[in-house]
């Protein structure tokens, strides 16, 4: 049979669920599922029976927490009778297929790779990342708050995915990116047929049309240029900080926010564990020193730091903004202290 599958294939829509069912036998599966409250979230599924796979909505949260959990045990400790400590590292991951990742969420994982793997390799992240197969679904219909076209992290990606799906109405166009994606297509080749010239053209057309369907125009680059050129007035940060309700939701929901704190949790007098938990730069405790002094004096400065990090510092450090344009902070923030408002305020300056 064809052991030399092309890197562009077609999967008929009828065969999607059978393929996922097959993959589920060999891998742990994480995909967008609509739950009983009507919310769509990434979920690990045991079986596809009775599970409502939802490929038409944006998941409320990205897949960040599968690679970088909100609360993660790093190791367990035990105090022996003679007072000595023994440690037991906790670091495990099983091969996992992430299906239905949107381009922004996948771009966010690529950003996390830079943070966790570029210099000192974080073993906890690395373990999960090496076991992850990322199958993305390009966005032919961007959602209400999306602006990934402005951050160059969508609606389709050029690289980074193992497989990228494009919905062509009756069929999916499946592009192979990295090696493990190719392995999936080879191993389950009976589900796929090689894409024709027309399929490729249809995919190109679909990706072009998607670019025209964004409902928001967010000029991220323009704001970055402005920030590079001058100090924007304090009034912007003051106004944003007056609206901030200090919930930390923006950092928790942001697929590229990777700050964490470490704490020890005793489970009994003899045992306990060291945990790492998501943190948020807008919290006062994020920068407060042990003696009570806080180098970031005011909420205003914390807000400023947060947006400069996304729009300026990451551009200087990594060559691109760490906002991936998913728009989730727009829905999350009670006070409207989101990056879309911030970008608009910067660009509206005289």
């Amino acid at each position: 049979m064809n052991n030399t599958m092309s890197d562009k294939n077609i999967l008929q829509k009828d065969h999607l669920v059978p393929l996922l069912r097959r993959l589920n036998k060999d891998y742990r599966m994480v995909l967008p599922v609509r739950n009983s409250s009507g919310d769509t979230l990434f979920a690990e599924v045991e079986t596809l029976d009775g599970c409502r796979i939802d490929l038409d909505s944006q998941t409320l949260a990205s897949a960040k927490h599968y690679l970088f959990p909100q609360l993660e045990t790093l190791f367990k400790y035990r105090i022996s009778a003679d007072g000595g400590y023994s440690f037991e590292p906790v670091c495990e991951a099983e091969p996992t297929i992430f299906f239905g990742l949107r381009s922004c969420d996948l771009a966010a994982i690529l950003y996390m790779d830079v943070i966790f793997l570029q210099k000192t390799k974080d073993p906890y992240y690395l373990q999960k990342r090496q076991n992850a197969i990322l199958i993305s679904l390009g966005c032919t219909e961007p959602f209400a708050n999306c602006f990934c076209n402005a951050t160059r992290s969508g609606p389709f990606l050029e690289y980074g995915f193992d497989l990228q799906f494009t919905d062509l109405g009756d069929r999916y166009f499946v592009e192979t990116g990295r090696v493990s994606g190719g392995e999936i297509v080879r191993r389950y080749s009976h589900y796929f047929t090689p894409a024709s010239e027309k399929d490729s053209k249809d995919q190109y057309q679909a990706s072009l049309e998607a670019r025209g369907r964004f409902k928001r125009q967010v000029h991220v680059d323009q704001a970055t240029k402005r920030l590079q050129a001058e100090d924007v007035p304090e009034s912007i940060w003051t106004e944003l900080s007056l609206r901030c309700q200090d919930c930390g939701g923006c950092a928790y929901i942001c697929p590229t926010c990777t700050c964490f704190t470490i704490r020890d949790q005793p489970c009994s007098a003899q045992e306990g564990e060291r945990l790492r938990a998501w943190d948020a730069c807008t919290f006062a405790g994020f920068t407060r020193m042990a003696g009570g002094h806080n180098p970031v004096q005011h909420r205003t400065q914390a807000i400023r730091k947060r947006f400069l990090h996304k729009l300026l510092h990451d551009v200087e450090k990594h060559g691109r903004s760490s906002c991936v344009g998913c728009g989730r902070c727009v829905d999350m923030c009670f006070g409207g202290v989101d990056i879309v408002r911030c970008v608009a305020m910067i660009n509206e300056l005289q």
């Binding site: 007056l242 609206r243 309700q245 200090d246 919290f283 405790g285 009670f334 006070g335 409207g336």
Partner: protein, 540 residues
């Protein structure tokens, strides 16, 4: 509660929370909305984004006040003269809604006559607010087509709390700003389900749905349903019980989900009262300051471990579904009550919260159409909802007030029960910080929240701090006629000179050792907001 019930006939938000977003002028009073009601604050901010004007009345420069177009920084406890002045200006400039007053209200002349006799300059000296600002606020509010008033405990926790509330209703009726969509008077409720607790008759003189215990018909109805004789005499208010003293009339108490050993004023009295009881049972999630004094403690299930309903500020009854099985031996509240009542010889037999809801619907007209199966479907129902086909009521008093005509109740300034003097020269205001909820029984279990706000602090104005020679982080003692606590200083521009602000979250600095036990004679709400105190730098 009592205030709005007198003027409008119903003591709840007249609007839905969503409607605030469409208002043109929002008058926020005595509410640190950003910190204490984030879901309301977001609507206020959204309204401002759409061009609405924001007026804040508050002695503190809260973040909402900083965001406001007009901030009236009154001296604590001077709402009444401020509002009287606003109404006088509205009257003088003929911005009243004559038709509304004529068609929908009564007793306007009493208000008008009182306003004509007042002296505006005197108001300025009482409130400390320039007349020009008062005029601007009055005109803004009166000229709007749609205006809402949101108030919170800064209005009610005074000895004149009921009068305060009535004066806000006077202002709204004078300008016709009630009984429409996006327009009204909205008390913001604090504790989750405090609205529901009031609705269910957790008040001294009413049965569920505010049916008076004094009404023989209502009494007969509930007696028939519960197969027991019900007393005609109203029960006791909170402070009558917890301040009753060691030889008080109440000999035994069952306290459910409340921590009076931290939350009630003048804690010394509370302690003596509870110690003097023959029997005390407490039902709570954790072993609170009150629970440790109990003879019996019932472990209660948390919100995640039980099914039931919560009624929020906008009268919306919402279903809360059990997510996990109760941990350990804890039980949902209704099971605890049933077990207890069974042992006391009164069998209460309900199989589920849904069955209890059916009884509520049967006996409580405003909840008459609210059943669990209906609540399953959407985002809950807003009472009054009288039968199964009733869609619920987003805003109250459409076409007519619950009591018929809206009643103008003229009110006069009543000085706080304690005013600063030489010995106790400062005013202490108590309230809440963002990161903790009430007495901290739940929030002080979270490491992140502890990191954000770990201990008690007092906000001090920079000029006062200079006189005291204290810096940020220094320890100070605050002393009132009733007690002393030690807290850390935070120099803040949120309080004005002469005022201090602190919270009641922290058992190690129980601010209610200091607060006065004076209360509003009608609502019986304690004057938590004003105590005269002295502040000193603590020890070496």
């Amino acid at each position: 509660m009592a205030g709005l019930a007198t003027t409008f006939g119903s003591g709840a938000m007249t609007n839905s929370i969503n409607e605030i977003e469409n208002s043109q002028v929002i008058l926020v009073s005595g509410s640190n909305t950003t910190d204490t009601h984030p879901q309301v604050a977001r609507r206020i901010l959204a309204a401002v984004d759409r061009g609405a004007k924001l007026i804040v009345i508050d002695p503190r420069r809260t973040r909402m006040a900083e965001y406001a177009h007009i901030h009236l920084a009154i001296r604590p406890g001077t709402d009444i003269p401020l509002l009287n002045a606003m109404m006088r200006i509205i009257l003088d400039e003929n911005l009243v809604d004559d038709v509304f007053i004529e068609m929908r209200t009564e007793n306007f002349h009493a208000l008008r006559d009182m306003l004509y006799r007042m002296d505006l300059q005197e108001t300025v000296s009482i409130t400390g607010v320039p007349l020009e600002d008062i005029s601007r606020a009055a005109r803004r509010y009166a000229r709007a087509q749609k205006a809402v008033i949101c108030y919170c405990l800064g209005v009610t926790q005074h000895i004149c709390g009921t009068d305060n509330v009535q004066n806000y209703s006077n202002l709204a009726m004078l300008t016709g700003h009630v009984e429409q969509e996006d327009t009204g008077v909205d008390p913001l409720r604090g504790h989750s389900n405090v609205q529901g607790a009031c609705d269910m008759g957790a008040l001294p003189a009413v049965f569920p749905g505010y049916q008076p215990a004094a009404d023989p018909e209502a009494r007969a109805k509930f007696s028939r349903a519960w197969k027991t004789e019900l007393p005609e005499k109203p029960g006791l208010t909170l402070l009558d019980m917890t301040h009753g003293g060691p030889g008080g009339a109440v000999r035994g108490m069952v306290i459910v989900g409340e921590n009076p050993m931290l939350s009630d004023p003048t804690l010394g009295k509370v302690k003596k009262t509870l110690e003097g009881l023959d029997f005390l049972a407490v039902s709570d999630l954790y072993l609170t300051e009150t629970a440790v004094m109990a003879d019996v403690v019932f472990p209660a299930a948390s919100f995640a471990e039980k099914t039931g309903t919560i009624t929020n500020s906008e009268r919306r009854v919402q279903l809360v579904r059990q997510a996990i099985a109760p941990v350990g031996s804890c039980l949902p509240d209704y099971r605890i009550i049933m077990e207890l009542s069974g042992r006391l010889g009164f069998a209460m037999e309900y199989d589920s919260p849904a069955e209890i809801m059916e009884e509520i619907a049967l006996l409580t007209p405003i909840y008459g159409g609210i059943y669990h199966d209906r609540l399953e479907a959407g985002w809950g129902l807003q009472w009054p909802c009288t039968d199964r086909s009733h869609p619920g009521t987003p805003f109250l008093h459409k076409y007519s007030f619950t009591r018929g005509r809206g009643h103008f109740s003229p009110t006069r300034h009543l000085p706080p029960s304690e005013t600063p003097d030489e010995e106790y020269p400062m005013i202490l205001i108590t309230g809440r910080f963002y990161h903790h909820f009430h007495t901290g029984t739940m929030t002080r279990k979270s490491p992140t929240l502890i990191r954000e706000g770990g201990g008690a602090i007092v906000q001090v104005h920079a000029a006062d701090a200079e006189v005291l020679r204290v810096r940020n982080g220094d320890q100070v003692t605050i002393t009132s006629r009733r007690g002393t606590i030690t807290v850390q200083v935070e120099i803040s521009d949120q309080v004005s000179q002469g005022n201090l602000f602190t919270t009641f979250h922290f058992a190690e600095a129980p601010v209610n050792e200091l607060t006065v036990d004076a209360r509003d004679p009608r609502a019986q709400c304690p004057e938590y907001k004003i105590s005269a105190v002295r502040i000193e730098k603590a020890g070496p």
